[in-house]
Amino acid sequence: MNIALALSPLLVVGIGALLLMLAEAFSTNPSRDLAGTGGTGGLALGATTVLFTSAAFACTVWMVGVENVGDVSAVAPWLILDRFTLFFDITLCLGGGLASLLAGGYLLEHRIDRGEFYALILFATFGAMMLAAAGDALTLFLGLETMSIGAYAMTAFRRASARSAEGALKYFLLGSFAAALLIYGFALIYGATGHTDLAGIGASARSAGGRSPMFIVGALLVLVGMVFKVSAVPFHAWAPDAYEGAPTPATAFMAVAVKAGAFAMLLRVLVLALGDAGWTSWASGWPPVVATLCVLTMTVANVIAGRQESVKRMLAYSSIAHAGYLLLGVTAMMQNPAQGIASVLFYLLAYTASTAGAFGALILCGSFEREAVSYEDLAGIGKRHPAPALAFSLFLVSLAGIPPTAGFFAKWFIFKAAIEGGLYWLAIIGFVNSVIGAYYYLRVLVFMYMREPAAGAEFARPMRSGYVTAALLVSAILVLALGLTPTRYLDLAIGAATFGNG
């Protein structure tokens, strides 16, 4: 065994991305038109295969045991290869794979099936995986930018649409701003401590440099950069516009993989670099900051989501709100890091399946030039097309956190961690928020099952796509599996909840 096996998930995605790009560039598909659309079906399958293969490699490594696959410290501290990384590899590849399956159906249906989308997905996933593994500020930034640039490009993918371009531009501007803050923050920290690796930064917390104002300012800036990426209020403003403007598979990818990558980064940095008593103090460290952001994020996102007329935009706000619940788990980390991390990990897995599924169901409910966006578009669909409606309902019920679905257990573990950590008020606010959340998720059910389209309006015409159906199947199975036998998945999350291989 050698280090290559340990790195295999990353390598598979990286090499796969390159190959896919080559294949796309050299393919001479006659059906391709001037705009470059057409004939990308194989690419979607390819990208999915690559990502699921990577996930399979990650699973293999997990089973073999990371500590058994050679000297994983060879790439440390730049890349940390532990079960945490593997868990994220699996989650990210799952999210990316679901997104590319969705893209396979969506791009074709909406006549924007240009092959580079899949390469972008692969590269962005690669970036996210790198981010999850990063143990050093440099690799971290590298992964972040790889991921972000892919996401920017995917957001702008609908070239004909002004909204798409607008969303991408906003995303790019604000994202660059945040990235700049992040890298500037690391620079300051390096100045204060002389370290770029996270563990080193953490270790120097007791030193003079670790207590200097420069370090604190740097940490602040890093924190801002990270919460921007997880789209916490008030750093969330880009998200709805970008999510709405992006083609729906890209939205799904951003809501799922980008968010998961960002949380991986957040967890690593907070635990490794800012994990000492001073920084995790409820009086003056990051927990109260994260808790405040958590409350703001949950409340503001839920409240606004309830006022949306577009289901896609509602799902965008919903993904922000879920970032709020995840931040609750992050806050709970201050008392018991393993507990908090495990809850966040499980939540991310459940959230990935549910959200990708929800976006997939939304895609399935629309068709060419009749993309389902608003609530009205979904009216009566439960009666005419029960299958997509049923799937949609399942994912929404999961997002609302009603048993016996994945979302319920995800919330259960998060709130369990919070209550065990003594964060009663945060938990209560979270509970109340989940009631508000239930309102707008159920509103979709209201339209699907209990309303007829307005007089004169046509019924929605769902598209037909094996890709999307496959994605929904995978998500649905996961949502139910996580909901009905959560223990085994939670064991995985708990197993992944420690850094390093100790």
Binding site: E166, K170, L174, A178, G210, R211, W282, S284, G285
Partner: protein
């Protein structure tokens, strides 16, 4: 007999009860298929067999009584275990069984109910002939007999309540029998609701009894009754303030220093009384009975005159041993009775509807009964129940006969019952006239009729009797003042009763004379006139009426068939002669009914009911004849006045009086406007309370909890959405605000500390850690820092001796940016745990 059905398992009761129930069942469900004649057969068989079984049971009872030397005999039958409840002062289980018993008291009731019931059924089979709801009517009527029998035969209060509400239900159904007319249905509802108010009282009485006596069956209540009167605090019911003055909140000054309590006996008695006033149509709940005359006439006779309305008197007699424990309640019963007798009599003076007059007369007579039992003359009161059942049933049935014959001419319910349109009917209805005359003689107290004896007994006892608390001599009450009714109450009650009796004589004779004497005035209304024709066409859709040739004068009123007259004759005979069962004035050596009932009331009356003037029996005996003069005088005066007014002067004085005092006349005609008073006060209060509640629920409760919350969430969503305006500057500004907030948090020092008990009276105060924080302590509480400079030490240890007061520890925190914050922490020894558990 008793060998076949042993007294402790007297299953014949099942037959008495079961036959009417079977009749109700068969007629109710199968009636339409069976046809009218089969229904008739079924219903008469049911009540007839029940009556026969009741006679058998009564004979067995009499046998048992004579065998056991006039003891209180009970023939009981325990059908099945029903339920149980908790009661008694230590919360024991109180079984409540479906158990019936016959004793001297309800044995007579049982005979009256089945006997009079049978006669009325017989009458009704003809009276109701041809009605669409024939089977339904008899199903209800049989169900009523069943419920009434359950009421009187029940061996415990909850089972009595089954019958109690059952008769109320039947009354409701029968009053609204012709439900297509809205007023009938409304009258039924009114009756049920008034009864329900009474039932509320009964329900309260039940839980009080269960709690204080630990039993709900007659024997158990009798055994535990003594605990209803006790000077001790837990045995008294706190009326005001609620909860017995234990309230210590802001408004405690509103509480009187001395709480107002009553004995449990008084509370139970008053609650029971409320129930009895509902069922027996006494003040304040009498209002339903006159309206109840909307039902078919046999119903009025059976339910609203002979049986159901006497249930209240029966209950008072049944629980006499509870009532006598509270002389106050007894006095209230007597006053209620006397005032009801007076009030109803005044109203009856001027009513023109034959059934209304009889209805108010019923209310008035029930008042006499209440007066009787209220002064402790339970046997006398019960005797009046007995005689009243005959003469009032007879009167009502006669009235039905009259209406029947009038209706054949007039076809209008209201006009057929208006005595101003009658007159001279004795010519056409000789039998009805005769029986009516006999029954009237009985009710007005014509000497030596049944009513004469029963009423005079009540008048006499009202004057001479006096109720005192039987527990008064108990040593428990040595230092406790028990209530005693004032001495003037006897004469006042007597006077009121004599007045009411005089009025009774007047209005009954007025009714009699106007109906049967003089000239028939119905010719004019029977005549064809355009208005009458129109009215007929509008108001009545009966098929047979349309065929009538309205241009001819029509038939004269006619006598009823034998099925209707035979019951009249039997009842009239009883009205005349039933008095021999209990004649006063020493006519018989011993009053048979008093003697028969003595074992029942012995427990109650012993020591509780005494004669006035210091229990002076001789004084009381002397007064018997004197006081009878009042009753006879009332009879003579009332009858004479009525004769003068309506026969000699042909009604002119009455018209003159009405013209002279139009206000008073109208007030009496409007029944003192008591209904209106209730409408304006209690009913409208509850109504507006309900309106307020409904409005409150809709606007405030739902408004705040559901709509306002939703509105707030939605509105904040709208407001927050405004920030999401698509402009990048705004987004960047939001980020900057966020960064500024976070920066402020990290820039400002936060001084927090926790105190931990380290044992050995040591306490460790530790400051919350922070990045780059320095700490400076003031552990000795002198207000000055202990060390000159900020240091790393984030905790300080204190020693606090037991009994020493709190120490104030000062903490100064300086963060990496050089900003300083102070905080004082007070360290005190915690109080010792309350228990060592």
């Amino acid at each position: 007999m008793l060998s076949l059905f042993p007294a402790n398992d007297y299953a014949l009761i099942a037959v008495i009860l079961g036959m009417p129930l079977l009749g109700a069942f068969v007629n109710g469900i199968w009636g339409k298929r069976l046809g009218d004649s089969a229904v008739k057969l079924m219903t008469l068989t049911a009540v007839g067999v029940s009556f026969a079984a009741a006679v058998v049971a009564f004979i067995a009872l009499a046998q048992g009584v004579s065998e056991q030397n006039d003891a209180h005999v009970r023939l009981t039958w325990n059908a099945w275990e029903w339920m149980h409840t908790t009661g008694g002062r230590d919360g024991q289980n109180i079984p409540i069984d479906v158990k019936f018993s016959i004793d001297q008291l309800n044995g007579i009731m049982m005979l009256v109910v089945t006997g009079v019931g049978f006669l009325i059924h017989l009458y009704a089979t003809t009276y109701m002939a041809g009605d669409k709801g024939y089977a339904r009517f008899f199903a209800y009527l049989n169900l009523f007999i069943f419920s009434m029998l359950v009421l009187i035969l029940a061996d415990n209060l909850p089972l009595l309540f089954v019958g109690w509400e059952g008769v109320g239900l039947c009354s409701y159904l029968l009053i609204g029998f012709w439900y297509e007319s809205a007023p009938n249905a409304a009258a039924g509802k009114k009756a049920f609701l008034a009864n329900r108010v009474g039932d509320f009282g009964l329900l309260c009485a039940m839980f009080l009894l269960a709690h204080y006596t630990g039993a709900l069956d007659w024997n158990g209540i009798a055994n535990g009754a003594s605990s209803l009167v006790h000077p001790g605090e837990p045995w008294r019911v706190h009326v005001w303030p609620i909860g017995g003055g234990q309230y210590t909140g802001v408004l405690h000054f509103l509480q009187p220093l001395k709480p107002f309590t009553v004995s449990a006996a008084t509370a139970v008695g008053l609650a029971l009384l409320l129930g009895c006033t509902g069922k027996s149509a006494q003040i304040p709940l009498y209002i339903w009975l006159p309206d109840a005359m909307a039902g078919p006439t046999p119903v009025s006779a059976l339910i609203h005159a002979a049986t159901m309305v006497t249930a209240g008197v029966y209950l008072i007699c049944r629980l006499s041993f509870v009532f006598v424990l509270s002389p106050f309640t007894m006095m209230v019963i007597a006053i209620v009775g006397a005032s009801t007798a007076l009030l109803a009599a005044t109203i009856a003076l001027v009513q023109n509807d034959i059934k209304k007059v009889l209805a108010y007369s019923t209310v008035s007579q029930l008042g006499f009964m209440f007066l009787g039992v209220g002064v402790g003359a339970f046997a006398a009161g019960f005797f009046h129940v007995f005689t009243h059942a005959f003469f009032k049933a007879c009167l009502f049935l006669c009235a039905g006969s009259v209406i029947h014959s009038m209706h054949a001419r007039i076809h209008d319910d209201d006009k057929a019952q208006d005595i101003r349109r009658m007159g001279g009917l004795r010519k056409w209805l000789p039998l009805t006239h005769g029986t009516f005359a006999v029954a009237t003689a009985a009710i007005i107290g014509f000497p030596f009729t049944s009513g004469f004896f029963s009423k005079d007994e009540i008048l006499y006892r009202a004057y001479v009797d006096r109720t005192i608390n039987p527990m008064a001599s108990s040593p428990l009450f040595k230092h406790f003042k028990l209530y005693e009714p004032p001495t003037w109450i006897g004469p006042v009650l007597y006077t009121a009763a004599v007045l009411a009796a005089a009025m009774t004589a007047f209005y009954m004779c007025r009714l009699y004379f106007l109906t049967f004497w003089g000239d028939f005035k119905g010719w004019t209304i029977g005549r064809p006139s355009l208005i009458a024709k129109q009215e007929l066409g509008d108001e009545h859709g009966h098929d047979d009426h349309h065929h009538e040739d309205l241009t001819s004068p029509g038939y004269p009123p006619h006598e009823s068939p034998w099925q209707m007259t035979v019951p009249l004759i039997v009842l009239a005979a009883f009205s005349l002669f039933a008095g021999v069962l209990n004649p006063g004035f020493g006519i018989l050596k011993e009053k048979p009914l008093d003697h028969w009932l003595e074992p029942v009331f012995k427990a109650a009356t012993e020591g509780a009911v005494v004669f006035g003037h210091g229990n002076d029996a001789e004084w009381a005996e002397h007064l018997e004849w004197t006081l009878a003069l009042g009753g006879i005088g009332a009879f003579l005066f009332g009858t004479g006045l009525a004769y003068w007014m309506y026969v000699a002067q042909k009604g002119k004085p009455a018209a003159r009086l009405a013209a002279e005092f139009p206000g008073a006349h109208q007030l009496l005609l409007d029944k003192w406007r008591i209904d209106e008073l209730y409408d304006a006060t209690i009913i409208s209060m509850v109504d507006s309370l309900a309106d307020t509640s409904a409005a409150l629920d809709k606007t405030v409760i739902d408004g705040i909890l559901a709509r306002l919350t939703a509105l707030i969430v939605a509105a904040s969503g709208t407001i927050l959405r405004a920030f999401q305006n698509g402009v990048v500057h705004m987004y960047a500004a939001m980020m900057v605000v966020g960064i500024a907030g976070m920066a402020w948090f990290f820039a400002v020092p936060h001084a927090n500390a926790t105190v931990v008990d380290a044992g050995n009276d040591d306490y460790v105060v530790s400051a919350a850690p922070g990045v780059g924080y320095g700490y400076r302590w003031d552990a000795d509480g002198d207000g000055l820092p202990d060390q000159p400079d900020f240091a790393e030490a984030s905790s300080v240890k204190l020693h606090l001796e037991p009994g020493k007061g709190p120490i104030t520890v000062g903490l100064e925190v300086r963060n990496a940016f050089g900003l300083v914050k102070r905080k004082s922490i007070s360290v005190a020894r915690p109080q010792a745990p309350i228990s060592s558990l």
